[in-house]
């Protein structure tokens, strides 16, 4: 188990290196003069452009610039944001907790509602309840979160005044964004849980358990669910990345702080250091979540760690 973990951990290093090279070169390969684009918002003279180019070391060869970037990143120094003149790490730390909070809350909503609905549908297989639940799930998948978010705002903020439409920090600020984010994802989880449960419940050991007189609830909870969970863990890990991406829209609709909005602003204003920093941090957390998924996987199914 430990050897497997160590190998798995080590394999993330080249992944992260590749990611940082990709991020760095992508931004520099985009057509256009970055310095001009950064100054494009306001009136400038040609001297100002040259001055900024030198200040940013953009007049140096690309390998040097990448070296600077990598060396700084290893020390936790991601540079200074061009637009806000603050350290990139400070910008990220101001916004990352809010996005993580939203993602985790969304994951919780998705996990609870998704698995519950999925199990219910599987247990009531081929009844009207199954059909209805899957119809809701289909609607959930097709409803854009942007639209759902606005509906929630009009309903719960403007008309009922239960929750504020904007802001972050407190729990009441989290309710609507987490529901919006989670309900979309829960639909996918519900469908997956259903098919996974149906698959497992056809197995012989379930029939055996039933034959032995185990109560139906325990059959489902103890015997079926644990095995049905394996594919779901993978999807859960993938969902984490998707939810983080979905947070961009949710954060904009609900005016929450977060790295989703941070990166959109940074891309629009060509704030190179900030874009690089955020992508690096997001990629790293994505790699880490995948690592965790693999470990849980190995825990749930012992065969996996022997095979690799």
């Amino acid at each position: 188990m430990y050897a497997y973990l160590a190998r798995r951990l080590l394999s993330t290093v080249p992944v992260l290196l590749a990611v940082s090279l990709l991020v760095f070169s992508m931004l520099h390969l985009v057509p256009g003069d970055p310095v001009k684009l950064m100054l494009s918002e306001f009136q400038t003279s040609p001297e100002q452009i040259e001055r900024l180019r030198a200040q940013l070391h953009f007049d140096e060869p690309l390998p040097n610039q990448f070296g600077r970037f990598l060396f700084g990143a290893l020390q936790g120094d991601l540079g200074i944001s061009i637009r806000t003149r603050r350290p990139v790490s400070a910008e990220i730390m101001d916004n990352l907790p809010s996005t993580l909070q939203l993602t985790l809350a969304g994951l919780l909503v998705a996990g609870v509602t998704g698995t519950t609905l999925g199990i219910l549908a599987a247990v009531r297989h081929r009844t009207w309840a199954d059909a209805a639940l899957m119809l809701i799930a289909l609607l959930g998948v097709s409803m854009p979160s942007f639209w759902l978010g606005l509906l929630f705002i009009f309903l719960f903020s403007l008309n009922l005044r239960w929750f504020p439409a904007t802001g972050g920090g407190e729990l009441r600020h989290l309710v609507l964004p987490a529901l919006t984010l989670g309900l979309g994802a829960s639909a996918i989880l519900a469908r997956l849980t259903r098919s996974s449960m149906l698959e497992v419940m056809r197995q012989e050991y379930i029939t055996t358990a039933r034959a032995k007189g185990v109560r139906e609830f325990l059959v489902i909870a103890r015997h079926a669910l644990k095995n049905a969970l394996i594919p779901m863990v993978t999807v859960f890990g993938l969902q984490f990345g998707q939810l983080m991406a979905g947070a961009v829209v949710i954060e904009t609709v609900f005016s929450r702080p977060g790295i989703g909005r941070l990166i959109v602003d940074a891309i629009l204003t060509k704030d190179f250091p900030l874009v690089q920093g955020i992508v690096l941090v997001v990629a790293t957390s994505y790699v880490m979540v995948n690592l965790m998924v693999d470990m849980i996987y190995a825990y749930l199914d012992p065969r996996i760690r022997y095979n690799t």
């Binding site: 400038t44 606005l150 509906l151 008309n159 904007t166 005016s255 602003d265």
Partner: protein
Amino acid sequence: MKLKIYLVLAMLVATTWLLGACGPSPAAEPTKAAGATSAPPVAAPVKGGAVTIGLDSEPPTMDPHASPSAVTFYISASMGESLLYLTADRQLKPWLAESWEVTDGGKTYTFKLRKDAKFQDGTALDAKAIKWNFDRIADPKYKAGSALTYLQGYVSADAVDDYTVRVNFKAGNAPFLTYVASPVLMFVSPTATQAQGDKVNQAPVMSGPYKIDEWVSKQQITLSRWDGYTRKTPYSDHDGAGYLDKVIWKFIPEPGTRMATFESGETQVVATIPAQDLARLSASKDYTIASKAWVGLPRIWALNVTLPPTDDLKVRQAINYGVDKDAIVNSIYKGIGTKAYAPLTMAMLDDPALRAFYPYDVNKAKQLLDQAGWNTVGADGIRTKGGKRLEVVLNSIDSGAGPDQINVLVQGQLRLIGMDVKLKAQARAPWYEDNYRCATNGPILFLRDGDWNGLNAFFSSALVGSNFNFACIKDAEIDKALEQGRAESDPVKRKALYLELEKKLLDQALTVPLVDELSVWALRANVSGLKFNGFTYPMINDLSMKK
């Protein structure tokens, strides 16, 4: 089950409500184009309370000298003070400077300062502090924003005595007098700024009636009243700091959400109101609308003079005659803009001679195109010349620069004169790149500037490929006129120079002026006292709220 039905019903209601809000609505009351706020006067403001203002974007930095962004100055205009004040009707008034003198052909400016001014940290706001601020902006090691443009040609500042400061320029610099009244050139405390390092971007220490409490990233900036402020701001109805204890500037980028927070009372004042919501808000007794025309260059189509067919004067003139601006203002702006006539907005320079250029005239446009040789009309209704179709490429941006519908409307209007407008819709970065390389027939954009010198960024030969000269015009006569305008310190002569220049720009049809835009704000009925300065930035010292 009951709950689900309730939810479905509620969503239906919300949907209907939304659709209603988006659908066609009666035209808004025409709003005053220029001058002071249209909010009605209210008796005896109440002291205390907090007002939350919803903005559509977040400032990049609050350091006034570093920022290129108008949002910074929405907020900092009430945190700091400048040497002079530019009123809503463009009069210069004393503020920190009690009097001023222009000598040496506009190269030297001498300001006599008031003696009681202090920064919020207690540092004296004297000649030395002002010199330090100007040197800070001009320092090559400092990444200045708009402030550097406002100090173009700066040589030095001298503290003649404790309360007299003299600013020297390489050449005559008439716009400086307007720029020195801008929130861009407000001052930060030399002591606090040197001590706080990077933190100046988050919490600059200034000298105005409000000070910054806290900035929560992507969320809000909270200002609180600074009771140490005892002076009277030049625009205020009272001595000393504002009525409100706190003013919270909240960043709400999504327009639907922003309007929802306003109508639910989460915010009490809101900026950048979508045109389709304005009529509804104006009609309600619960709200008042305050508006002020933006200064600078209107929303304007810069016609690229280096690329066919807009390299032909007759084609450019035909476009000018062929665009129906009234239709744009009525159908898209619905009360948040008026028709534009010239490269400077009417709030900047208005003259019957400018209004006479290019009335909407389809026949005249067609005539001009005939004369230019585009006289065969193809089966698709598009004119041709020597087998070539009459096509122009409008460089359009998919976000950030305002209503896309204008592009589509212009496209439809010009089809009537036999011109095919292709829209090149793209993201911000390639949009700029095409403009810098003069690769399309031009973009539609605007420029905010408090001085006539704003024309320089659009039409100076030196700025083709690096700034807003997207008409790509290199014309010695225009360059000379721009220089003369910069150097002329006599306001009457200066105005005459810019009027001549505007006529020249219109003669050459380098642009299609489309819409003079308004900055429109909505206030809940119990909130009053929002004012604007000559740069169209909101001033909140008189803002107050009744319970």
